[in-house]
């Protein structure tokens, strides 16, 4: 991961906007960029693979600069990269072995690659699709342990939410295809920040149940941190981000959800004198959101 951070650093430096920096980006004709998993429903504690495939027109020895997104709670076990030249094309495959230690939905933002687009000579950020995984298996320590009616209902809401999301994505894709003059196989965007996938409301609600359990079971700093972490992961945010990063995510645009996030931030970082009141406020905010 350290090396990967360093790699991200290099691309960041190159993308600073200076002419020299822009000229240092590789010149690539990227024909496809995919980010998949060998299973969409991995089991808890069972290793699986995330796979990045990049197809490039032209022959290159090695592809550098593919940046992995934050993988949330997934632990990276290993990382293999292969670059294969076939005729006048290059195929790059990166396979990341990971394991999930917690159940629930994991939303992973797109992987990306900064390069000069050989087709028009402009610097661009090529984005893969985001990836959403549903980790099954035994629940965590404080996750509800039986499938109650409430949870079944929430599952139905989640499925409904994903179905609506999928329909929206298909509709947007059809609209985009209709507006484009010629089909282009990858995201042909200017340099933009990768945005995580917006989740349905079901994921934060699940996390809020979990957060509430943490805070009521043990109203301490550690519980406040655990509750904060659970909610952040539910909206696709990873460890290492700050609240300002999290509230910029599309999944956190709801002002009521933002109030919960701010209340948990206070509970996690305030002094011991203020913590009981901060946790009370956080619980009220959680209840307000669920209501």
């Amino acid at each position: 991961m350290r090396a990967r951070h360093a790699f991200g650093l290099a691309t960041l430096i190159l993308a600073m906007g200076s002419v020299a920096g822009a000229q240092a980006l590789p010149r690539l004709d990227v024909t496809s960029f995919t980010f998949t998993s060998d299973t969409r429903s991995p089991a808890q504690e069972q290793p699986f693979h995330l796979i990045i495939d990049v197809h490039i027109r032209g022959r290159i020895d090695d592809l550098e600069g593919v940046v992995l997104p934050q993988l949330g709670t997934l632990e990276i076990l290993g990382d293999e990269k292969h670059t294969t030249v076939r005729g006048d094309a290059t195929e790059y495959r990166e396979s990341i072995a990971v394991v999930a230690h917690r159940g629930g939905t994991i939303a992973i933002p797109p992987a990306y690659l900064d390069a000069i687009d050989a087709r028009d000579g402009k610097p661009k950020r090529f984005l893969s699709d985001p990836l959403t995984l549903q980790v099954s298996g035994p629940a965590g320590l404080l996750i509800p342990d039986s499938a109650t009616d409430e949870h079944r209902l929430r599952g139905l809401i989640r499925i409904g939410g994903f179905s609506i999301g999928a329909l929206l994505i298909v509709a947007l894709a059809l609209l985009a295809l209709g507006l484009r003059k010629a089909p282009v196989p990858i995201a042909d965007a200017e340099v933009v920040e990768p945005e995580p996938v917006a989740l349905s409301q079901a994921a934060p609600v699940d996390a809020m149940v979990e957060a509430r359990r943490y805070l009521t079971h043990d109203p301490s700093r550690e519980s406040a941190l655990a509750a904060r972490s659970a909610l952040w992961h539910s909206i696709g945010a990873g460890d290492g981000e700050t609240l300002a990063d999290v509230v910029r995510r599309p999944a956190a645009h709801d002002p009521v959800l933002r109030a919960v996030l701010r209340a948990l931030e206070r509970a996690a970082f305030t002094g011991d004198d203020d913590r009981p009141a901060a946790i009370e406020d956080a619980l009220r905010a959680l209840d307000g959101y669920r209501a």
Binding site: G8, L9, I13, S18, V19, E241, A244, G271
Partner: protein, 311 residues
């Protein structure tokens, strides 16, 4: 008077169009009892911002235009022989002010810079046999013009370290420039005075010192500063020397000031991260490669900050 730092910031915002980062930095530095280095081309209201800060605080404002022939005594003061009294008397220099604008500090020779920077650090000045305490509060706002480098004396890193933060000013947006025409195109605009008093500022400083900083945030600050000393492999060739522990203290003080400005009694990771760049950017020695390759030094510092995960 019981004004808040937000009142002060709002008053400055009514005088200066845009430049929010600069105005906030001035307020933060005042709360954190530190000095600010402002770098930007001429005509970006640096002087007006400093004058507005002094006026809003009801403090005494003085300005020194640094030139190559300036002497230390022109800054701190001197002793002159009074023939009528047949004795030496002391004339205090312009450094005795609550807000001092040191304009184009890099145009004066090193001995003048040292005289000011020692005063900034020691908060007192010795003239002849007598030591004079500087006013409290005492905030130095020094400007540097990145253009016209001929005939300038670059500040050594050790002296740059004495500035709590360095702010780099950029040109206003089109809308801001249009608003500048409306606001300043006619009559002279006087900065609002008496928004807060010096006693208010002293109270804010006491309040900011009491702001809680979680242990994990202290670890985060140490990691951020240490990250500039052992930069990641890709940045290693660009950084010759990282920031000193004074940088860690500066981040801590400014993060507290930021939290206090926001009306909080506790620091958040966002407070630390938001003040890290202005604290670190002038405390890092970059190698020749940064200039040779046309890289943006701020980009490197941002990358070092981004490489450290927040708690």
């Amino acid at each position: 008077m019981n004004a808040t730092p937000r009142d002060l910031l709002a008053a400055l915002g009514r005088t200066i169009v845009g430049q929010h980062e600069t105005l906030e930095a001035l307020v933060l530095a005042a709360i954190a009892d530190g000095h600010v280095l402002l770098e930007g081309p001429p005509g970006l209201a640096k002087t007006l911002a400093c004058r507005a800060l002094a006026a809003a605080l009801d403090g005494e404002f003085k300005r020194i235009q640094f030139t190559p022939d300036l002497l230390p005594s022109d800054v701190v003061g001197t002793r002159i022989f009074d023939q009528s009294e047949t004795a030496f008397s002391t004339v205090l220099g312009p450094v005795f002010a609550n807000v001092l604008l040191a304009d184009e500090i890099n145009r004066a020779p090193a001995k003048v810079q040292s005289a000011l920077l020692e005063a900034m650090q020691e908060r007192q000045v010795t003239i002849g046999p007598q030591t004079h305490a500087l006013p409290d509060p005492f905030v130095v706002l020094a400007t540097m013009n990145p253009l016209d480098a001929d005939g300038t004396y670059a500040l050594p890193l050790a002296q740059m370290d004495r500035f709590l933060m360095k702010i780099v000013l950029g040109y206003p947006t089109r809308e801001e420039e249009r608003a500048i025409l409306d606001r300043f195109g006619g009559e002279d605009v006087q900065p609002p005075s008496g928004i807060a008093g010096l006693d208010d500022l002293r109270a804010w400083r006491t309040g900011a010192r009491a702001v809680h900083v979680d242990d994990r945030l202290k670890e985060y600050i140490v990691d951020l500063v240490a990250g500039t000393r052992k930069p990641l492999p890709d940045a290693g060739g660009y950084i010759e020397r990282g920031a000193s522990p004074r940088a860690s203290l500066a981040v801590l003080r400014l993060a507290r000031a930021k939290a206090y400005l926001e009306g909080r009694t506790f620091v958040l990771p966002d407070d630390v991260r938001s003040v890290a760049l202005p604290v670190l950017r002038h405390r890092i020695a970059f190698s020749y490669r940064v200039q040779a390759e046309g890289l943006d030094p701020d980009g490197l510092v941002r990358a070092c900050i981004a490489a450290v995960p927040a708690p």
